[in-house]
Symmetry: D2
Subunit: 355 residues, 4 copies
């Protein structure tokens, strides 16, 4: 990490970058409110920090030992003052600001009618972002894989419905990209691109998606610890894209016997992650619990734990959904969830800030 | 399960019990607001339910397939109406009622002075029950095992301090019993007996503690699923003691790399467990996270998830505690936690009841 | 599953396939020693099996409820007689036959000299297949990502060395493809393509690699159960490629405290998997244990458990390896391993067959 | 750890022990082939090692940082030379020597006839030790808990059958003690006492059992890491009883979906544990897999991995067993297992010693 002086010139910055390349490494240049900080991508042990500290315009040069340095608070504090979180602005929505953000919609897009009807419902309920899966990752090749499995034309049609639904109901849109070949197409239509839990470790996909310069909702793998989760988010940041919305969606259940929830929702990871990074983190209670009747409680709990928002599966008639009907709630139920969460947030926010 | 008619006589009930014994099984007799229900302890497959259904005073006789039938809602609904939870009354405190209950105190009792000073602090902060460990389960024989390790005299002295602190500051008291030999002594002094996480599977201890007819705080093992947790609570219920306070305290972390919390707090187990049993459930965020700086957020989240109370480690000076200092908070911080939790509970309770 | 009569004609088979397509599903056609069996890819519940049973040339038509039916023994027994395993032939090597197969080489290809020297060593030690990573999946973007990270030219050069080393020392070659963009290039040079543990769930990559019609070594994800592992292998089989070599490489450690092995090697999964599928399974003790000093014992154990081969990381000087030096053994140590394994296999094979 | 000089006198040793007590700690005195070593039980940080190093007869005084120092190789090497394992002698059997030891018998003792018939069978098959559960730990209070649940008389009768069967067929005997109250009685009848997986963390039981000065078979908890396993074995050693036979019996399964084995048998823990401690370790493939059809393979694998013996559930008619029938094998199958294991041991032992 090379911290530049507040009055460092463009030439001085360019010189530092050139020097980093000379050592076979890449540079991440972040311009903050106060100064420019240059991160080093690659093995820092190759860098003679003393040499860099002596370059013109450089205030300080030193290594960071954590594997997720570009998204760390250690890194951001030189840019924007210690303790600052960085909210991500998408359209007129701010993710990671004082208000929780609600992402809602069907698990899978099934038809234009279905999507529009759900979009209208979630908008009325108070949601900000419309979700809809077109390329569905499934644990069996014999299950419905989303409309995107029908070919590129069907995929584009479904993406177009998503875009149209977003326009009509003034909702931002998000959809998952499951494979590298889908990235370009999805990026044309959706406002936010989602990396699913099973792709958290897919570094080639991360790198490709990062390059589209769109915000990315990045889900934790269900078998990953927090350190791995952040280390793979770093693959996105290393491409210069720091508009990363982290998403906790549950980890593998423990123990023997029947599981009462699909996964274990790791809510303590939220404040723990907020101590490590300036990135916002949201929660997906639908996949975590797999149970409609637990969504209200776990949504309240997630916001009380400090989450910046929620991603919830919604269907006007959950029982007829092709995928995941047992975990979907109705737009009316979503309204209750949003109402409760906003009130909890209003209550805890000042208490949290006071501390 | 033998459901008696509302007008069944004592003789009819006694006859059913006699019949159950004749098949080599034990009977659990629960008298509810409406009627008496007789549970069968042991292998129900030996029971000819038709025979029992035909006995005088019997309304219905049938098996329950779950391994925790005596504590199930299936069982309680015939007693008290569907949907009822059963609050446990200890002194003038109700655990599982509309108000959250706060259990607080040091991890380990270290001296009379330490205990009285902390008791005074937690009382002022609004706690209801004083905790203090005398027989400490530890993962190394070379670590401090609590004052109880010094011999029975030292143990009794420490238990007496706990009792005195409770009296002086009008707090109920709770302490852990780690082995069978400690049960009688601890039951003389403490209002509630605690079974620790490592003893969840210790059925001989459960049976012995159950026999003291005191309320029992029963912690989930960190490697146990919900079904096992409830199945072992059933060992206590099978002794006729249903004053069981379940306690979620975190399960084993998943994944590779550094752990940011000691365990994973499984808050979704709270509403999931509440669908299964009428027993109250509380949360221990101190052991679950192992981090003082996460207690506020996770306490709020636990109450928002529907917990009936919290168990929190408190010390006036966490850095000088012999055990677990890194996860203790001060009485002042506890006051903030209790204040926030009570406000969240007031907010979510009516919304939850409405649903 | 449509089981054809032994004398079914090509026309009859083609007609069945056409009918399956009419229901919006895909067909997998397997010609066995005895007859042709046609598997259905997609949601079988859409299929009227009665209708298919009545088609000319059809012996039997019925569903299989497991999610990995195309690779199941249930499926193969109609082709080749119950109990048969299917060995995969690559060059003059048979994987899944009576003799264990040894795959060995460096974790990462570092230079032509390094690779040739190791290739010579492992050949002398008795290995059959040379491994060498060019596109390395790493948990940190700041670590060495393999020569492939240097660009397509560097990648091709390294692949060419691998091919040359294979030619020179009469070894088959295997390398990992980490992302979709690497598949075409790697398939030009390597005899076997590897899917790494972190990509087990990457269905788009599986589909793409399957299409190259080369044998695939498919590693179990470290957080995956056996059912998921086989269900994702089915994604490869559904593309018509059944030359799948399964690979057990360890699952996530359990419990608290220091880990003495990197992962837990799940050797019981080997005979368990062999009851489910006709595919061969090999073991990677290097990544599973992460410890050079455990390779000998765990290699012996894997073969004793019934594995069809081993994949072992080898370096002439482990301490100078850029990646994973602590788990590599020398060619001399490999010779001991191969010797012991062959003798154990000779001992247990007839006893196993007898049973 | 205080290492005495080879010519240290009894007085000098007694003086060191007295000094340790003066610091409020306990002493473990081990007399080896070469010298006496005195271990410190409790928090070593209280000890001024310089002071101890200067005492007469003391060669060296220093701390060991691992939590299982009394059973560590670090400790034993001063006693018996580096690399030595310590075999435990019970009757004329040696556990941890060059020959594998076979423990076999029913899961639960059901009747005298059943036990004698099985004892005869396992003796003929080549087993050395007869197992039979009388106090059965069960996950449901409604399941059969062993004959010991019928009262102390029934328990004593069953223990007597075990003893008689051992006498008659020249087998040593082992039975599990599940609670503290059972220790005295079981110790009167059985040659070896077993601590089950669910009691690994039950330190009060460990301490009580240790005091009987009988060999103890100590099972790893299914949710415990190796460090915890050894740290709890240390509770036994700290009572002066080092005749501890460790037993690996499988850890919690990972991942989603159907489990194909009851637990995951962690065979790599065997050589890993052997690097840490001089204690012998055996394997229980019956509980680990829960599948009769995997016992042969996993027994072979365990011995190939270096285990000192096996504990296998055997019944002449597995389908009529009251508990765990699906994982039991017949005496004939046991004979095959023992035969294969002895031949594998003969093969790998010299190769392992050579290395």
């Amino acid at each position: 990490m090379i911290i530049m002086k507040t009055d460092a010139t463009q030439e001085q910055i360019a010189h530092v970058i050139k020097e980093i390349k000379r050592y076979g490494l890449r540079a991440d240049v972040s311009k903050g409110a106060y100064r420019t900080v240059i991160g080093i991508i690659g093995d820092e042990r190759k860098i003679p920090f003393d040499h860099f500290a002596a370059l013109p315009g450089v205030k300080e040069a030193r290594g960071i030992e954590i594997p997720y340095k570009l998204i760390s608070r250690e890194y951001s504090k030189f840019l924007e003052g210690e303790g600052e979180r960085r909210a991500i602005k998408v359209g007129n929505i701010e993710i990671g600001g004082d208000e929780p953000v609600f992402i809602a919609g069907p698990c899978a897009v099934e038809s234009k009618e279905q999507l529009l009807k759900i979009a209208e419902g979630v908008k009325k309920a108070g949601a900000h972002i419309l979700r809809g899966g077109i390329f569905k990752p499934r644990s069996s090749v014999h299950s419905f894989q989303g409309l995107g499995a029908g070919g590129w034309e069907e995929a584009e049609a479904a993406l177009d419905w998503l875009h149209e639904a977003g326009e009509r109901f003034e909702l931002l849109t998000i959809t998952e990209v499951r494979g590298e070949a889908q990235v370009d197409l999805a990026a044309e239509y959706a406002d936010i691109l989602q990396i699913g839990t099973r792709n958290m470790y897919n570094q080639d996909l991360l790198t490709k998606v990062a390059g589209k310069n769109k915000p990315i909702l990045f889900k934790r793998h269900f078998g990953a610890g927090v350190e791995e989760f952040l280390s793979f988010a770093e693959y996105i940041a290393a491409e210069g894209n720091k508009d990363i919305i982290l998403c906790e969606r549950g980890v593998l259940p423990v123990g023997k016997g029947k599981s009462y929830t699909r996964y274990i929702l790791d809510l303590a990871s939220i404040p723990a992650i907020q101590k490590e990074t300036y990135l916002p983190i949201v929660v997906d209670p639908s996949h975590a619990t797999g149970r409609r009747d637990l969504i209200f409680n776990m949504s309240c709990a997630a916001i009380a734990a400090g989450a910046s928002g929620l991603m919830i599966e919604v269907h006007y008639n959950p029982t007829e959904a092709l995928v995941d009907g047992q975990q979907m709630i109705t737009p009316d139920e979503l309204k209750d969830v949003i109402d409760a969460c906003q009130r909890i947030n209003k209550l805890v926010l000042p208490m949290r800030n006071k501390r």
